[in-house]
């Protein structure tokens, strides 16, 4: 049985380009984008499994508009075998619940199905820089009905299980997680390797497998705004409560002197 490894990946706007649209949702139409930072660590975790098990099939899995192709090709250049994108306008407005459902349904379609009794691993980044919730990995694991470990710093693949070092408050925990399972990786894990020349050549011509909701058998009413249990009611600018800043420039000695004076009798 060939080990299957998926890495969930999201393409996110560059931090400098984030805007909220009139509907209160993120406007992703104009921003330049990149692979979500945490997801790059999930890619590396999958590649490390392949270093150990050269026969493993590595699939990068994403959900988003066709423009995600650039990041999927990047994953191929790093050593992934296949790139699969779930792309459908009807997914727009999906919250983390609906996103978890859609991604899990897509993974089931791609053979990441515990009913098949074949070993598999799913990696994800801890959280995305635009949503910032860290919900989706847990929600994908729940729909797939498999164990999970989140905030993983180290992942050691051992045939039928993985040993995971997980960050907890004030320390860490070592877990033994049986396959199949989902691991979400923190950005204190090992950073992604660089693409090889051979990989870059392969990425240029690789086919990006694009699927829509009908092809994965998911009813449109279960995703998007209809399938999402949360909606953005409103966004408000944060009220400015502080008076204008006093900027102090000059030599270091002068600056610190003026700071000392400014704080005298203030507290």
């Amino acid at each position: 049985m060939r080990l299957k490894v998926a890495s969930l990946m999201k393409q996110v706007p560059l931090p400098s380009e984030m805007r909220t649209g009139a509907d209160g949702l993120m406007d992703r139409t104009t921003a330049r984008s990149t692979i979500n930072h945490d997801c790059t660590f999930a890619l590396e975790s999958a590649l490390e499994v392949k270093d150990r098990v050269p026969d493993a099939e590595l699939i990068v899995v994403s959900m988003g508009p066709p423009s995600f192709e650039q990041s999927l090709r990047k994953a191929i250049s790093l050593g992934f075998d296949r790139a699969c994108l779930l792309s459908d306008r009807r997914l727009g407005g999906s919250d983390t619940f609906a996103t978890g459902l859609a991604l899990a349904t897509f993974l089931l379609k791609l053979g990441f199905d515990r009913e098949l009794q074949e070993p598999f691993l799913v990696f994800a980044g801890r959280q995305t820089s635009d949503g910032d919730t860290a919900h989706v990995p847990s929600q994908v694991a729940e729909v797939l009905g498999i164990p999970q470990a989140t905030f993983a710093q180290e992942v050691d693949y051992r045939d039928d299980h993985v040993i995971v070092r997980r960050i907890i408050e004030g320390g860490h925990q070592t877990l033994r997680v049986p396959l199949p399972c989902l691991i979400s990786v923190a950005p204190t894990a090992r950073a992604a390797r660089r693409p090889s020349i051979k990989g870059m050549m392969r990425a240029k011509n690789a086919a990006i497998e694009t699927w829509n909701l009908d092809q994965i058998g998911l009813d449109a009413s279960r995703v998007g705004l209809d399938g999402s249990p949360t909606i953005v009611a409103k966004t408000l600018s944060m009220a400015r409560t502080r008076p204008e800043v006093t900027l102090i420039e000059g030599s270091v000695g002068e600056m610190v002197d003026r700071l000392v004076v400014a704080l005298q009798g203030e507290i």
Binding site: M18, H135, T150, I168, V177, P229
Partner: protein, 375 residues
């Protein structure tokens, strides 16, 4: 007349009532964030005319139930099981799934710890509920739902900072329970009131073998998890450059010097510094870390992303040190020093040595703190 007044009002709860919270414990001790969420839970329950039920899971935790009531709960459900001595997502999700199906709460709240941030969404997907992450405010309100041309009530308004701009997003949903996580420090615990009465009951869930598929091999909890950040009078927080350039040496030296003078000082780190491995997670200030309110907050080489501001904006005086006069952090500060922190901090440290304590009340140096600082 408001035009929405002509639309029907719909109580979407369909019989769901009550506020549920998770009391996370380390060993048998409730973690502060679990007691903190009892404040919004109490407020919401009072507004909605309903009760707070807290869920206490672990081994040897029954004795803590009275404390949970003293901090605001009406009812504590205790699940005692030696297999649950340490948190594990699958069996804990099982407990909540059964309790939610049994008692049908309208709201469920969790601390946004590394555990709460994975447990809440896992439960949400299982019981078909919505969950909002890292909330800073929790309110009750009406919502005019354009798509259904109806006024939905009473909604949990889960408020969280949204990315990229200085905005607060209000999230609502009409599937019960309405779930939310709240960051440690975002709310302050109610004072302990031992005269409060409540009900304590035991609960024995029906586990499935798969719930114990994951095995804990080792748990290392070296320190209390940066709790002293909540009681510090001054916090000096470093951005990623402080890690890259001197591994937080100057930031920590300033804090150590303040401690030597008897000032309750602590150091923190931005998310970028933590993610780059320069500081432990428990020292992270910001939306996905801790919310702090010291009298003096010193931001060293921090750009001022909204996620960071979310964790410190209620501080007293904010002092920013950044070599870039255009740094966003200056816009959220009272005093800005434009300069390289590697030049500024050594001079500041000198001033602290000669008695400057950022205007904080002069205290005689505490021998205990001084000893700690020298370690």
């Amino acid at each position: 007349m408001n035009e929405t007044e002509t639309y029907p009002r719909i109580d979407f709860r369909n019989g769901a009532r009550g506020v549920m919270t998770w009391v996370e414990v380390h060993g048998t001790e409730p973690v502060p964030s679990s007691l903190e969420i009892l404040r919004p839970a109490r407020d919401l329950a009072d507004l909605l005319g309903t009760q707070v039920t807290s869920v206490l899971i672990g081994q040897g935790v029954s004795d803590r139930a009275a404390d949970v009531i003293a901090h605001g709960a009406d009812r504590v459900v205790v699940v005692e099981d030696p297999r649950l001595a340490e948190y594990l997502v699958l069996p804990y999700a099982r407990v909540f799934t059964e309790l939610i199906e049994r008692s049908r709460p309208e709201i469920a709240l969790f601390g946004a710890t590394t555990s709460g941030r994975e447990l809440a969404p896992r439960i949400a997907s299982r019981v078909r509920a919505g969950v909002t992450a890292d909330c800073t405010h929790l309110k009750v309100g009406d919502f005019f739902w354009k798509r259904r041309k109806a006024i939905m009530y009473p909604c949990l308004e889960a408020i969280r900072p949204s990315y990229g701009e200085s905005k607060l997003a209000t999230i609502v949903g009409f599937w019960c329970p309405q779930m939310a996580t709240a960051r440690p420090g975002a709310f302050s615990a109610l004072p302990k009131d031992l005269s409060r009465h409540g009900v304590i009951e035991d609960f024995v869930p029906t586990f499935e073998p798969g719930d114990f598929a994951v095995e804990i091999l080792e748990t290392v909890r070296a320190e209390a998890g940066g709790e002293s950040l909540f009681s510090a009078e001054i916090i000096v927080t470093g951005g990623r450059p402080c890690g890259e350039l001197d591994e937080f040496r100057l930031v920590r030296e300033l804090v150590d010097e303040l401690k030597r003078r008897g000032v309750a000082a602590e150091w923190g780190a931005s998310r970028q510094a933590v993610d780059a491995g320069y500081a432990p997670h428990e020292r992270q200030i910001g939306q996905t870390g801790k919310t702090v309110r010291p009298k003096i907050y010193v931001a060293v080489a921090i750009s001022g992303a909204v996620q960071h501001l979310a964790g410190m904006k209620e501080s007293g005086k904010v002092i920013a040190i950044n070599k870039d006069p255009g740094a966003g952090m200056f816009r959220s500060s009272d005093i800005g020093l434009v300069g390289d922190y590697r030049d500024v901090l050594p001079v500041l440290i000198d001033r602290v040595r000669s008695g400057f304590a950022f205007g904080l009340p002069a205290t005689t140096a505490s021998p205990v703190l001084a000893a700690e600082a020298r370690r």
